[in-house]
Amino acid sequence: MLEIRLHGRGGQGAVTSAELVAIAAINKGNFAQAFPSFGPERRGAPVVAFCRVDDKKINIRAKVYKPNVVIVLDPGLLSLLDPTEGMSDDGILILNTKKKPQDIPALAGKSVHVATVDAQTIAIEELGRPIVNTTMLGAFIRATGLIDIEDIREPILERFGSKLGSRNMLALERAYNEVSIKE
């Protein structure tokens, strides 16, 4: 089972990202869960979303405490929280930042695999606004190989409609190609 935690701010689409990954995995015949860290929705406040993917039925009704993958949509959150909390050294941390992975200091003394992508720039160029949730999924797909780009296309087109969905896919594909990964 792969457990994923997403950090974002209210309005950035962290929950949507978790849902899109879960739906893509379920459409492939796998089992998955996606759920928010439940509570009142406040734009701009730090939010957390979770996703689990497995090839068998998932029987856990609790938050994710030991994520294999953590995605941080908003670089500003790194000064507020430790994104590696609960991760082991073989975990994958995916950051939206202009920096390269080798320029990211070890967080809380952990040597997790780090992947970085300038999702902010990509999203502004492709979508015209700094909403990076789908863009970051490109980096996620490349860094984890959990699903293929084609698996996420249908859920994205369904969620956003064909016009906006296609632009989200362009941003996602660019992030897939532009992500830097430190093994």
């Binding site: 849902e19 379920i26 759920f35 439940f38 009704r61 609790a62 938050k63």
Partner: protein, 392 residues
Amino acid sequence: MAKVRKGIEVSIAMADAVAQANVDVIGAYPITPQTHIVEHLSEIVANAELDAEFVPVDSEHSAMSVCCGSAAVGARTFTSTSSQGLALMAEIFYIAAAMRLPIVMALANRSLSSPLSIWNDHTDTMMVRDAGWIHLFVENGQESYDNIFTAFRIAEDEDVMLPVAVNFDGFILTHMIEPIEYEDNDTIAKYLPAFKMKNTLHPDNPVSMGCFGMPEIYTEAQMQREDAIRRAYPTIIKAWKEWGDLTGRYYHPVETYRSEDAEYCIVTMGSYGETAMEVVDSLREEGEKVGVVKIRLWRPFPLDEFRKAVLGKKSLIVLDRAISFGGPGGPVASELRSALYNKEGAPVIVNYVAGLAGRDVSRNDFRNIILEGKARAGKGDTEGFTLYGLRG
């Protein structure tokens, strides 16, 4: 017969089930965490995908009043609420059962104020435990979807004619995206024939419903209700059996997991059950002789099945999700103790209350509760209840 497997939010799947059940009237008022069900149903009706009357009322009290009126004329009727909404409709909630109106409710379980909380526990449903409704509990999205159909089938059965609440955990299930298998409309139509009520309100044949009851008749009226809900039991079993025969998914009033050779069991109700199975699997690997007993049917209470499942075990660790202030234990544990009193081979019960107002109950918490509960049972430390994880 085509089944379709979808990755979908449980609330949306429940609303889709209500549409597939071809309801006539939905009377509802939105409240967290039930909101997505009602929003989606309102969309379905507005888009003319379902020929039904959606009555957007001014309060939950009105919602249940609308439901009573529509069910009384023989319309298939659905509503959904949570927490404060249920509290506000409590007056009419009781009347629905007393008047034998087969309304189906999706009850997205949530805590009650105060302090104000929107999160999940079982406080709301325990408030209406004695109202005379049939109460089912489900533990995942598939069960939530399935039991909309079984609930209508049970409620509308000529031998039952009682409202049914499908209890499912707020947020933990309502806001969860997971795989759910949809049945096709032919299967549903086969399982759930059109609702034909025998005694309806009709202008051509005026009758009074919900009359004044003098002391000379009130007791008898209550006994009729008691009879009705007890007699519903075989219909519930049959409705679940036939659903299983059609879909391959069977439900039972009491369900067990790895309990046959277990010396002790954890007892759960609602979405607790799934994490409990996961943790029991890992404890079994360590040699613990532990199993899970799940109460799916809360009213009418499945006394015989429960006893059959647990008599001969050493101990039960009962996990409640609500407090009964000043009471002898959590609501579930108190009933289970009563069910086992003076029974030969009865296990002792250690009671934990956890998960109040959405406090997460992790796998590690389950492990602690099970192992600590077993040790306490061994020492005879079984009085009252323990609030798990209480700080300070």
